[in-house]
């Protein structure tokens, strides 16, 4: 009798599980960030532009903490920019908090910093012990709310990380209780975020994440509210983390990674590509730009131009450059050396790391990065300046082509 009851119950459970699978949303195409403007329109803008202002640099507000890191940005509905970063006595310390501030572009000033999340609030909300907090990455949900993904660690170093998220209905002034994302079958350990999320046509979020414990590889998490509904591997093995995605079309995208290879392998930027909106990824040829095992940032502008910020070195993080690509070929040119301590003796060189790029209107670019682990630097590249740089780059390419012929 017990066996018959158990088998009947199994049948019911099986039917419910099938219905659950049947209700899984179909995979969707990528939602391009901006409609690509025509080249002629872009040239017209360049001709009629106002005087070109040089990149404007300032600092994110001081929280009083001696160590800050991992800044990220998102555009708010009122045209301002909100930044997030973590600050504490040192990286990985229990007193690290996730701080936030708003940049008012008209006044060119940052608001006083506020605390979005601290360790105790995170562990009370998640009902589990949290030892430290890490990288915050904001995203815009389809219904307009802000979602902030952030890293938490309960045990061990960063390899023991998991991702949690909070949601804001008021552009980041107040936040919901944190919720945990389950991303790994091994005690949900070792998943982190660093790079901006992408959007799918169906409104769901694609979050580039990475593992760095047994394997070091990238993954695309498909997220509905605060739950992971699918995961796709973007690289494998132990050589590529922190994927940053550039959407090339509704079905095409490229991912650029921070390399974590052994010393005998190429210190260049690993690349993966997808041709089916992220369902499957293939490892491509490296981008021939030096990468010293440090994070990089990429964005696309509305005219199809791409920007990348990274340390173009094989060792050290003492130089940070901004590169540009026209979106048609694989050539990247340096348009601005943001920081460079090469002239200094080794011991005096500072670290410029964890760049994060964002565009507010599709023409300009905001760059934030960690400045010697003590402060967060913000640089604004105006649309006119970037268009001028693009024009200069095109002239240089024409000249090089001419010399070759």
């Amino acid at each position: 009798m017990n066996r018959i009851l158990a088998l009947c119950f199994l049948l019911i459970a099986g039917v419910l599980a099938y219905l659950r699978i049947d209700s899984q949303p179909a995979w969707s195409s990528f939602k391009p960030s901006f409609e690509v403007a025509s080249q002629s329109a872009n040239e017209e803008q360049t001709k009629t532009k106002l005087p070109i202002s040089a990149p404007e640099a300032d600092w994110l507000p001081d929280t009083g903490a001696p160590s800050v890191h991992a800044a990220s940005l998102i555009a708010l509905n009122d045209g301002t920019i909100r930044a997030f970063w973590f600050a504490g006595s040192r990286e990985g310390a229990p007193d690290v908090v996730i701080a936030s501030s708003v940049f008012h572009s008209k006044e060119g000033a940052w608001s006083a910093p506020t605390v979005v999340m601290d360790r105790v609030r995170a562990e009370r909300g998640l009902s589990r012990y949290i030892a430290k907090l890490g990288n915050p990455v904001p995203a815009r949900m389809a219904d307009g709310r802000l979602q902030l993904f952030f890293v938490t660690v309960s045990i061990g170093g960063w390899a023991g990380s998991s991702i949690s998220s909070v949601i804001s209905n008021d552009e980041g002034v107040t936040w919901s209780k944190p919720e945990r994302l389950i991303t790994s079958p091994l005690v949900n350990l070792s998943t982190l975020v660093k790079s901006p999320a992408i959007a799918f046509e169906d409104g769901r979020i694609g979050l580039p994440a990475y593992h760095e414990w047994i394997g070091r590889f990238g993954e695309l998490l498909r997220i509905e509210d605060s739950r992971v509904i699918d995961v796709r591997r973007m690289s494998s093995g132990r050589g590529a983390i922190q994927p940053a995605i550039l959407i090339d079309g509704q079905e095409q995208a490229s991912a650029y990674f921070r390399q974590t290879r052994s010393s005998d392998q190429a210190k260049e930027v690993p690349v993966s590509v997808t041709k089916d909106a992220g369902r499957h990824w293939q490892i491509g040829s490296d981008l021939p730009i030096a990468n010293p095992n440090s994070a990089l940032a990429v964005i696309s502008l509305a005219n199809g131009t791409r920007l990348m910020a990274l340390n173009n070195l094989e060792t050290g993080r003492y130089r940070l450059v901004l590169l540009m690509n026209n979106g048609r070929d694989n050539d990247w040119s340096i348009i601005q050396t943001v920081e460079d301590d090469e002239a200094l003796p080794d011991l005096q060189r500072r670290e410029f790391s964890y760049p994060y790029l964002m565009t507010a209107n599709g023409r300009d670019a905001h760059l934030v990065y960690t400045w010697d682990r003590k402060r967060i630097r913000h640089i604004y590249f105006s649309g006119a300046w970037l268009e001028h740089a693009q024009h200069q780059m095109a002239l240089l390419e024409d000249k090089t082509e001419g010399l070759k012929q």
Partner: protein, 205 residues
Amino acid sequence: MTNHLQTIALLEMSLTCGVFILLLAQRVFQTEFPVFVRILLAFLIGNVFFWPLGLSMELPLAGYVRGMMGDLSVVTMLLLWSSVLPSKPIPLGFKITALIAACAFYPFALGFGMTDPYVWGYSSISLLAGVLIFALVCGLAGWVRGTWIFALTLLAWSVHWHESMNLWDYVLDPFLGLWSMISILLAWNQRRREKARSGFLFRAG
């Protein structure tokens, strides 16, 4: 929704800790308590883990255990809980299957190659069919408790009982794999000893 999920998870972990400590005590003192006493003790110890104890702790004890271990799979949890009740021993076939599944699954799920079996846990009919067939075989082979456990596991996954949306997180965890391996090794060692002993008894004089 979050509060509801977190409370359930804390309750489950508290009871799991209660049962684990009870089983450990039975092993240490080499005794077996009556069923009623076992249930009562598991419940009492579970309460100690569930309620905030104050002192300098920010969370109940179960919250600290969750931080270290994450949430157990539903299969592991039900196996552990049901061991308090009088029942047949867990068949060796189940342990071997769990061990093989863990050995085949974890290396690929943790980054070896571009094929990720963890993805199947979101919407794979094949994985669901595999679990259903295994549960059916458990029932037909006489281990009805196994059928109940897998049926409850599928039900839990269908209604999003835990934070995870992935079926793998409901049917398998590293602790189940580890326990299966140790159990198989202990069973193999015991069989070897018994064989050696019987060989000694019947050896020609």
